[in-house]
Symmetry: C2
Subunit: 497 residues, 2 copies
Amino acid sequence: MAQQKAISPTRLEDYPQWYQQVIKAAELAEPSPVRGCMIIRPWGYALWEKIQSVLDARFKATGHSNVYFPLLIPLEYLQKEAEHIKGFAKECAVVTHHRLEADAEGKLQPAGELEDPYIIRPTSETVFGIQYAKWIKSYRDLPLKLNQWANVMRWEMRTRLFLRTSEFLWQEGHTAHATAEEAQEETLQMLDVYQDVIENTLAIPTIPGEKTARERFPGAINTYTLEAMMQDCKALQSATSHFLGQNFAKSFNIQFTDQNEQLQHVWTTSWGLSTRIIGGLIMTHSDDDGLVLPPKIAPIHAVILPIIRKDQDAGLIIEYCQKLKEALGQQLFNQEPIRVEIDSRDLNGGEKYWHHVKRGVPLRIEIGLREVNGDSLAISRRDQLGQKITQSRQQFIQELPHILQEIQSGLYERALNYQKVHSHHFTNLNEFKDFFANDQANGFAYVYSSDDESIEHLLKEYKISARCIPLATSQETGSCIFTGKQNAKKIIYAKAY
Amino acid sequence: MAQQKAISPTRLEDYPQWYQQVIKAAELAEPSPVRGCMIIRPWGYALWEKIQSVLDARFKATGHSNVYFPLLIPLEYLQKEAEHIKGFAKECAVVTHHRLEADAEGKLQPAGELEDPYIIRPTSETVFGIQYAKWIKSYRDLPLKLNQWANVMRWEMRTRLFLRTSEFLWQEGHTAHATAEEAQEETLQMLDVYQDVIENTLAIPTIPGEKTARERFPGAINTYTLEAMMQDCKALQSATSHFLGQNFAKSFNIQFTDQNEQLQHVWTTSWGLSTRIIGGLIMTHSDDDGLVLPPKIAPIHAVILPIIRKDQDAGLIIEYCQKLKEALGQQLFNQEPIRVEIDSRDLNGGEKYWHHVKRGVPLRIEIGLREVNGDSLAISRRDQLGQKITQSRQQFIQELPHILQEIQSGLYERALNYQKVHSHHFTNLNEFKDFFANDQANGFAYVYSSDDESIEHLLKEYKISARCIPLATSQETGSCIFTGKQNAKKIIYAKAY
């Protein structure tokens, strides 16, 4: 059992295929017959609900309110911000008709052509902008800090479950401020909120940084990002926060009268995190036996598996399991009652056991007659596969919150260590090229680099991109590894999702 | 102040306009420049969030899981269920292109025409159906009980905030069962869940009933509804639950092997509640001074208004307010901490006072120097406008949960009484006609009636429709008031939204 892995192929054999198989085995999501769109199944959606609830509480605690804006955007809105439209025109779903009619063969055809077509929102800066211009009159109306949870659509050509889908779920925050400083502060505050939730709840280590000019959000002055390293050493942009300056304010004419009765444009920000992060969660922690979930995000913390060998023992074992479930549910982890389920389905033990392994449940507790008689339980941790420990019931109940915390921290530490081991600083261009010279991603390369158009061909050749200027070293400068120019910033390059 | 009403026109003067003005004054929502779509503002969205959280907990407690299905539906899916497509083809947004290109004048035009267009979901029976056929193989896979929270789109020609918008937010439950009985039970169970939440949380009395054949959901065998009466005596369909029989199962080939190894079609249900209910909430309780909110749904239960006449008193008064807020927040109402806010904005007292009246905050607490010195507070209840009561602080803190419950029950009782007063039983056709003879809606008319096509012209003439066959009297029969036919059921007729 220890040799045979539940997921085939393994990570080493074929990482992209392994990723698809982990999702399938855990029943997180599946492709839909609708081009590029996915169906998020209960176990996958439960992860998104947890992420939503943690983030939403943080948004509210930092003074944001939720709203809902229309799905459709008139074409003329998009056209108002030149950079913005360039970024999205190539990949958007266009609504051109408002009913269907059967043709001569009875086949439905679009009918009722619209005079002005709409696109399905790829993001909502434009529709928020139009409204902000209406709502904001005076400095008393500022700051305006709104967020929406919504679906958006970007017509992607190559899609991948969670990581890149034509439709995805996300939240988008949109705020307006009286001063540049305040807007900049908001941008960084939300990056902090994301980092806190991604690191502490999802146990994914990230590197906060600023995007280089050519990697910015269309229309932004600055884009901040959290870059995470997956187990194939590729980078995943986990969330972004944009300082939009007065670009959108000027395009949409969002003005306010300040305390000196002067008319001024506001300063805006936007920031978002999407279902893509679930792809990051899967790729950070999972192994060749399937999904591994940090306890804080796991829909259930522990599953109790009754092992009934003789029918006559069933009553006794089930009763013991139910009492155990109740006792465990009264313990708190992460300020919430511990989530326990009993799986008493009529399946063979091995099938049931692997079902929960593949779904990443942090703890499995087996209860047979021996455990009932010994007032004990047999525990297996998802993060320590192959080890089963028998423990006294009382002791386990007491220790459970501690065990869950240990798993949570352990997963984070392991991922952080992985990121560190696969991060390298280069001052020599040939070493840098060697690092990326094969098809595999070897990690994060830190180099002093100018954000020069002339290096584009080299990045393309090695299929890498500038991930970010890490905030931690954003004041350091050196000589550009590509051009030799002075005063270059330290930039992380990597292959990326 | 008692004479002048905050909302103009009043309900009596112009009910539809009054409705729009209540929404505007409470800043619940507003029309968007996107045809037929609305923008739900923070105070309105907070109501939806509360409804979501109460309903979602009930769905989970009854064994349902949340999922997410694609926004877009291929035309061919719709075509599979003949009745269903008839119901939705005339009002759906059609996506025909997947990018934009600037024309010679620089104007964006749809480009990249799709071979197979999509519609934006008006409801999702079809996409769930396709997937259920894939997921369900054996009786062990049943029941399958899923729900999704989503936006849907129906291209309405005449729209009205919350009540009828082209895009709206809702949840849609879709379940599959092994037997007709079990599916029928599910259908009625979810109707019960809706009724419980609508009556107990929103304080809207409803009449559960079955729709007549011609009012059913397209493709359903039975549609159950909750009919509520608004203050203009019109009916509002508040939520529906459909028993779909094997119609969708046969169209989408959803089959399972039963315990006797026989292949059978499943039995399905679907049920939904939308942001429309917020329109019902507004119209049930609000008055000529604006929104009135039952405490269980109110985003805040009480607002504290510091009344500062001299700057030197400010510190004392604000401190008193903060301690009061803290003490009140430690009390529970409806098993949740009581929600209190201090409004210390720099606005004149009257403006501030009316702000909260119009937004329907159940309790306003005014604190000036006199209250601080008297260890007391001045309370105004939203449901008893014009009365201000001074009470001792300690006593109020203790009584607050009780007061909130009294407001909650009072609003329900008032609405229930209104419904009863405006409900009439008729056995004489002329009296029935007189009841509906003017442009105003006069209420619910209960009559024995056959569901006969021949009465359609009469219903059209009086602009009324069959609302439901109330479950409470569904076994009673009598002679049809229109045709004289025997064995007619008791049906409610009314003008309706």
